[in-house]
């Protein structure tokens, strides 16, 4: 049953509820650590992310179908004999992030590099999913 404008006017609480629901369901701007940039074209996708302070041994990348998962950890620093912290802003801990790609990835051909705290992963599209040119016979 659809509510008419008049009914809504008569029942302001229902209208209030409806607006409340609308506000709550709006997409929130929460981004899981680490933030990623994803570049795509017809052949592959390139994912870059900034994970400073993480060593190559602590980065794990896995791909199933079209989903790319990055996990790892940034160990807490080993500062000894600390007198005081004047700033303590750096983040430490475990992270796990999954990105859905618009195509299935050829997991044999993934290439990843890590330099200066920036991870760069190229994920080629599965050969079978690439567009094929169809020859028209005349």
């Amino acid at each position: 049953m659809t509510t008419t404008y008049l009914e809504r006017l008569l029942d302001p609480w229902r209208e209030f509820d409806r607006m409340n629901r609308l506000l709550r369901s709006s997409p929130t701007q929460t981004t899981e650590y680490p933030a990623v940039n994803v570049w795509v074209n017809g052949e592959d996708a390139v994912i870059t992310t900034e994970i400073p302070g993480v060593t190559t041994d602590d980065i794990n990348i896995s791909v199933t179908g079209n989903s790319f998962t990055l996990s790892g950890k940034r160990p807490a620093d080993e500062e000894k004999n600390v007198q005081s912290y004047h700033r303590h802003e750096l983040w430490h801990g475990n992270f796990n992030k999954t990105v859905q790609l618009p195509f299935n990835v050829d997991s044999e051909k993934i290439h990843a590099s890590y330099k200066n705290g920036v991870l760069h992963v190229s994920l080629p599209k599965l050969e079978a999913e690439k567009p094929k040119k169809i020859k028209i016979e005349s």
């Binding site: 981004t31 940039n37 570049w39 390139v46 620093d77 004047h86 990105v99 705290g117 920036v118």
Partner: protein
Amino acid sequence: MTDTNREIQKKEAELEKGVEHTRATRVFTPTVDIVEHKNDIVVLADMPGVDEKSVDITLEKELLTIYGRVEPEIPENHRLAIAEYGVGDYKRTFTISNEIDRDQIQASVKDGVLKLVLPKAEGAKTRKIPISGNA
């Protein structure tokens, strides 16, 4: 122990009054740890994309400025489908006291983290002052 609520947006640096940029790039404020030890003060700054050659450290009077240049790497013939972070330079300025031995400052960069060691000057190290009992 994944902290999903962490603020992960990079903060863009505020322009100082009357100062204009000449490099067409965004400038971010790196997050830092500043840790004081008995003999030195250590500054750690997250500056992903920066290496030893692209970071400048200047000390003028009391102002210590760290500046890291980042050349954005844009994959050719690709379009940006998801953009969660921006790429740009890093800049942050601190005031330091005269207690620092300016000639002995050391800087290194590892995995995108800048580490500055600022040794305390000899005279500034905490000394225990003996108090004599009978005046």
